[in-house]
Symmetry: C2
Subunit: 180 residues, 2 copies
């Protein structure tokens, strides 16, 4: 399932501009499916050229004009077809883990700083998801809530693991300092 199909899926909930689609995605699927204007706008153009969406230009005063997209019946069919296809494998890449992997070669204290920074990021993402959870509890589908819960357990378990990691690194660096 590529970005174009995801965009179709979001347009199924109502007409949107590229700008609004990005915001919608960030709030809901942002933590497992990132996107940027550099990919959204060209994707929308493609969809239009393929007749899967239609555009309506809305002139605004005080704000830039906008292009509101609406999904077509062909677009709906295309989306349905994509949904039945098997999803490609997840992709995950972590430079942080790579730094930890080579941690022994790191200068004293530097690794702990990185762990601390990483923890901050994870905490921030978890906090944001918890806010979203409250905001959407009554309007989201059960399927959407399950995705959200995935994010919750993902960040929570990472955070627990980080506790253990910090303790162990501290011990290791202590031992190092005392001449072992």
């Amino acid at each position: 399932m590529n970005l174009r199909s995801v965009l179709l899926g979001f347009l199924l909930r109502g007409d949107r501009t590229g700008y609004e689609l990005k915001k919608d995605m960030e709030e809901s699927v942002g933590f497992f499916f990132g996107s940027s204007y550099g990919s959204i706008y060209p994707a929308l153009k493609d969809l239009e050229a393929s007749g899967l969406v239609e555009v309506r230009e809305v002139v605004q005063s005080g704000k830039p004009n906008k292009k509101v997209y609406r999904i077509t019946p062909e677009g709906e069919k295309s989306f349905q077809a994509q949904l039945e296809e098997s999803p490609a494998a997840d992709s995950f890449r972590s430079e942080f883990l790579m730094h930890l992997f080579f941690g022994g070669q790191q200068e004293g204290g530097r690794l702990l700083d990185m762990v601390s920074d990483y923890r901050g990021l994870q905490e921030g993402k978890l906090a944001r998801l918890r806010e979203v959870e409250v905001e959407v509890r009554d309007i989201a589908t059960p399927y959407e809530m399950m995705c959200l819960e995935y994010g919750l357990i993902k960040f929570e378990s990472t955070l627990h693991w980080l506790d253990e990691v910090e303790k162990r690194i501290r011990k290791l660096e202590q031992g190092e300092g005392s001449g072992l």
Copy 2:
């Protein structure tokens, strides 16, 4: 930290061919830092052009000849420098979660099949990591073990979440079938 630096890190443990480096990476960092020959061989070429590694060609009979790479002192410096740099943010993308997100629109049963397939993949990865854990327990550094444990908790928590997901989807599809 890009692939070139990672390769330098692995060459620090001893001379290796591109082929061996790929195997090493798969076993240890594969679940959070993938790679393919299409990226490894060009990366090794780059490293050689930059003087960060040296090559020695070994003629073999019955097997293809191989190129054994060795890290140079400049390579070691370059690797150290990279280790001190802050790691880029993790990247994670899951088409499976996107399918779940739009799950309500799925044809009956299709979503459960996807969940089941996904579970199989996660179980396979977890099983492999558990094998690796036993294999390397006595030779890996504590830092390497922490990375491995991350993988363990990641797949375990995903699997627990999947239990819940399956139950809930079954209930939802039941309700759907009975005319609700």
